[in-house]
Structures are given as C-alpha cells and as structure tokens.
C-alpha cells in the first residue's frame, strides 16, 4: 500500500517534470504561478491550519520579500540569489513583530490585526513612490540573469519541494504536535507545559519567512512587481485555495493551489463573471465537502481503495 503511494507520487512528479516538453509557454506560465501559490498556501496552512492563527498578513509578507529583494538588487546591486534570503529574513522579522503583537489575541481579533497590518504594508508600498515606484510597478532584475520559463519552472519546483519537505518535517515533529495542541485548546496546552507564546511566534516566523522567500522568487520571475502582490484579493485567493483544498491537511493547499489557479485560467474568458463562478465553486465545496478536496479523498476514495 505504502509502496504504491510512493510509485504514484514519483509518477506524478515525472509527469510534472516533463511539462516543459509538451505544454506550451502559456501553461508553463500557469504552472509557475500555481507553484508560487503552492508555497504561499502551504506556508499559510502551517500557521492558520495547524496553529489556528488565521492571519491575513501572508500576502503582505510576500510583498515585503519581493520588494526588499527587488529594491536591494536595484539600489545596492545585491544579486537576487542573495536577495531572496534577505527578503525572507526581513519578512520573518516582520512576522516576529506581528506574532508578538498578536500574542494575547485569538480568533477574530488576530485576524483583524493582521488584516490591518496587511493594509498598512500595501499602503506603504503604494505611497513610497521613490523607493517602490508605487502602482507603476518596480522593475526588478531576473534571478538567473537571463529569461527562461523552463529553467524558472524547475527552480520553482525545486523550491516548492524543499518548502513542502520542511513543512512535512515540522508537522510530523513535536513542534507540529504542539501546533495542533494549541489550535485545539491553548489553555490545556499551556497547562501541560507547552510554552504557547513561543510556539505561536515560531509558527509566525517560519511561515512569514517562507512567504517572503516565495514572494521574492515570484517577483524576480515576473520582473515587474506591483502592490498587487500584497493585496487582500491575493490574500483571499490564498485563503480560498487552502480552504477549498483542505485546511489543516498537508496535501490540501497543494491541491487547492493547482485547482483554483487552473480553474481561474479556464474561466477567465467569462470576464467579470469569473469571480461569480469562483464564488459558486467555493460555496459548493463549503456545503458538500467542508474538509476540502483532500477531505473528499480521505473520507470517500481512500477507504474504498483500502477495502478493494
């Protein structure tokens, strides 16, 4: 059983790795965007799905990462390969600060505070014209020095896999168990000797560092970053991907990211109505599969396969 899962996994990976051979430039571009969302949704899931801290600042951290890496590349001539890590570092510092600010908060108060933080970041990016060129967008250098969708696709895959391995390690570790204990019952976890505050902040720092890295990586692919990257619509997309895929499950955000990104490409032709279709899909999933697409697999398909 376990072996067949490995084979299935390798098979999917092989198909995926051969994408550049047979899918066109357009779908390669869609795949790269999907991978960005895999990183974003998975790292948000670590924070929101596992520790129960529903933060709305995740897209803002991606924005911080992208702009920090972009600005230092332009102003200080720091190569983007190093800039990625600096962007992630700065984003994690902001994550630390925001996490500390939210220590005493839970539920809706934490969400509101992070929402406000997210808007502050977006406004700063929009208005600090000298530094960020506002809504005009900031032209940033390419990560690898020349433009190749194929190579970028492989870079995105590699980073996604590293991210997912780290996340998998964390959720299977003691830290992951503490995460889930805290989201189940913070007071009980505290009474059992878990330093709840530290664990919550650690979750914030890890997930914001990942968002910062992903944002910077994506920025150096797009070559033009706009305040859009840290907008709330971006945030809600990440949220929708995680929830539709399956919040609090490892595979959920991965499935959700590919599903929604691909779907949005197909329904783009309907113009303004594509938001409507998006909403209907979210509604149907929320009604019929509250634990997301991964939940359908876990509850309906997996037990049947085990039986036969």
């Amino acid at each position: 059983m376990l072996k067949s899962k490995y084979i299935l996994g390798l098979f999917i990976l092989a198909i995926f790795l051969s994408f550049p051979i047979y899918i066109g430039k357009y779908w390669l571009h869609v795949s790269i965007i999907s991978l960005f969302y895999v990183m974003m949704a998975s790292s948000w899931n670590l924070l929101a799905g596992y520790t129960g801290q529903v933060s709305f600042a995740h897209a803002a951290f991606a924005g911080i990462g992208a702009y920090v890496s972009g600005i230092i590349a332009i102003k200080l001539n720091i190569p983007p390969t190093i800039g990625l890590f600096i962007g992630a570092g700065i984003a994690s510092l902001f994550g630390l600060g925001l996490g500390m600010l939210c220590i005493k908060m839970g539920g809706i108060y934490l969400s509101l505070t992070t929402l406000a933080f997210s808007e502050i970041i977006r406004l700063i990016i929009t208005n600090e014209y000298e530094l960020t060129r506002g809504t005009m967008g900031l032209e940033v250098p390419n990560l690898i020095g020349f433009y190749s969708k194929t190579i970028y696709f492989y870079i995105m895959i590699a980073v996604s896999i590293i991210f997912l391995l780290i996340i998998y390690k964390i959720i299977k570790s003691d830290l992951g168990t503490s995460f889930r204990a805290i989201s189940n019952d913070e007071l009980a976890a505290n009474s059992l000797g878990i330093n709840v505050i530290r664990v919550r902040i650690v979750a914030f720092v890890i997930s914001s560092a990942m968002a910062g890295f992903a944002g910077a990586l994506f920025g150096h692919y797009l070559l033009l970053i706009t305040p859009d990257i840290s907008s709330l619509s971006q945030m809600f997309l990440i949220l929708a991907m995680t929830i539709i895929g399956g919040m609090g499950s490892f595979f959920g955000p991965i499935i959700g990211a590919f599903f929604l990104e691909t779907l949005s490409e197909y329904i783009r032709i309907y113009g303004e109505y594509h938001v409507l279709i998006f909403g209907i899909v979210a509604l149907i999933i929320a009604r019929f599969a509250p634990s997301g697409l991964d939940g359908i697999y876990q509850e309906k398909i997996s037990p049947k396969m085990a039986k036969s």
Binding site: R180, N184, L187, A188, N190, I194
Partner: protein
C-alpha cells in the same frame, strides 16, 4: 509540606472570588476541597496553576514562590491538573494528547521513548485500546481518563483534580476513586481535589478544607468536617428555628 498558600486574594471586577485564603498541602496526602457552588474552588485551582495571578498573597511550592509564574512554568515545576469541563485536544488521537504532556516536559526523549511513555500512561488509565482513537470519539469517562493520563505524563509532584467524578455512574466513580488511590501509592503523587460527590471525597481524602464565598471556613479530618456546624450551614443555609 509540598505547598503552602498564604493570604491568597483574587477578585473579578467587584466580585471577590477568594478572600485571604490560607492553606497548605502535605506531601503524600489526598487533600479534598469542598464548598457550595461559586465558593471559589475552581478559582483556587486556576490561581495555583498560573491561569490567574493572585492579587495578594504568595504560593510556596517546594520552597519557591510560584504565584507569578505562567501555566507552563508551573507545570514544569511539577503541578499538573485536570479540568472540570474536560479539555482534551479533540481533533487529536489519544496518543497525541498524551504526547503533548511529554513534549512539554521531556522534549529530549527520543520519539520511540516518547511514544512508549505515552502508551504506558494510557494503559494505566485504561485506554490501552483507544491509543489511536480521536479524542472527540471518546465518551465522557474516556475523556476524563485521557485528561488524567495527560496530566500524569507531565511527571507532576502535585496533581490537581477538578471534579473528576461529575457525570460518572456509581461503578465508574468506584473505579476513579481506586485510580486516585493508586496514583498516590504507585507514583507517590500528592493529590488535591475538588469534588461535589460528598460520599467519595469523605472516603478518599485524608484531610478536607471547606470554602464558602471565597473564604476558608473549615479544615480538618473528614469526620470532623461532616459534623462542623458552619459547614452544614454553608451547604443547607441558616436555619430559622
């Protein structure tokens, strides 16, 4: 003496929950805490475990004042508790529930050691067959047993039990009382418990303290408490005759 609380006061807005309460717990005893509803019993537990900090007074635990410590620090010092309304981690398995206590206190054990330790405590409370069961699927008794296993897994010196018997039938109460005695005998853990079921607390406790309106009104052996006029008055109300 394992714990000595002196002059504990705690109020919520205008409501005085505890007023200048003094008590001590001897090492190796089962101390009972009784009192009418709203007497401040759970507040005492919350003060001892750092969920609330007392406004006045100090709590000496093994020679250290713990009245300003946070819950997890108090747990590390050796006080564990169960909750009146069970607070199991519902979306986690029984094994994982107990692992949390071990992770919180003994993070350096290997994963295999942690697991076998957790299973040991689950077996002790009689949940051997529910190791992989999600806590939400347990019955009330099961959840109470799980909380006990979880509390024991933190290696406490003092265990606080908040109404472990409520909601149990007579047989289950019997078993729970036996378990409490075994915890003292086998693990040498001192027990401080709150209970509404008089027959049980009178039988199992070595000593009892009585709380009414946030004040300690009596302290002594169970048989003396049962005949104490002030205690009877607190429970039954003043007689007009």
């Amino acid at each position: 003496m394992i714990l000595k609380a002196t002059g504990i006061s705690k109020s919520f807005g205008g409501l005085i929950a505890l007023k200048n309460v003094d008590f001590h717990i001897n090492s190796g005893e089962i101390l009972g805490l009784i009192g009418p509803n709203g007497a401040g019993k759970t507040t005492i537990f919350n003060v001892l475990t750092g969920i609330y900090h007392p406004e006045q007074g100090n709590i000496d635990f093994n020679g250290e004042d713990i009245s300003k410590y946070r819950p997890f620090e108090i747990c590390h010092k050796g006080i564990a508790r169960t909750f009146q309304v069970t607070r199991a981690f519902l979306d986690m398995s029984c094994l994982e529930n107990v692992l949390v206590g071990i992770i919180g206190n003994n993070p350096n054990l290997s994963p295999a050691e942690k697991k076998s330790e957790a299973i040991k405590y689950l077996e002790f409370v009689g949940l051997k067959n529910s190791v992989d069961t999600q806590a939400k699927n347990l019955t009330l008794v099961g959840k109470k047993r799980l909380e006990l296993a979880r509390a024991l897994s933190t290696h406490p010196k003092l265990l606080l039990l908040d109404e472990v018997l409520s909601g149990l039938n007579t047989t289950e109460m019997r078993e729970a009382c036996d378990l409490i005695n075994i915890i003292l005998d086998k693990f040498g853990i001192t027990i401080f418990w709150v209970e509404h079921v008089m027959s049980a607390i009178m039988e199992v406790s070595g000593r009892i303290i009585v709380l009414d309106h946030g004040e300690k009104i009596a302290e002594g052996l169970p048989k003396d408490i049962a005949n104490n006029a002030e205690v009877i008055e607190a429970y039954l109300g003043e007689s007009d005759a």
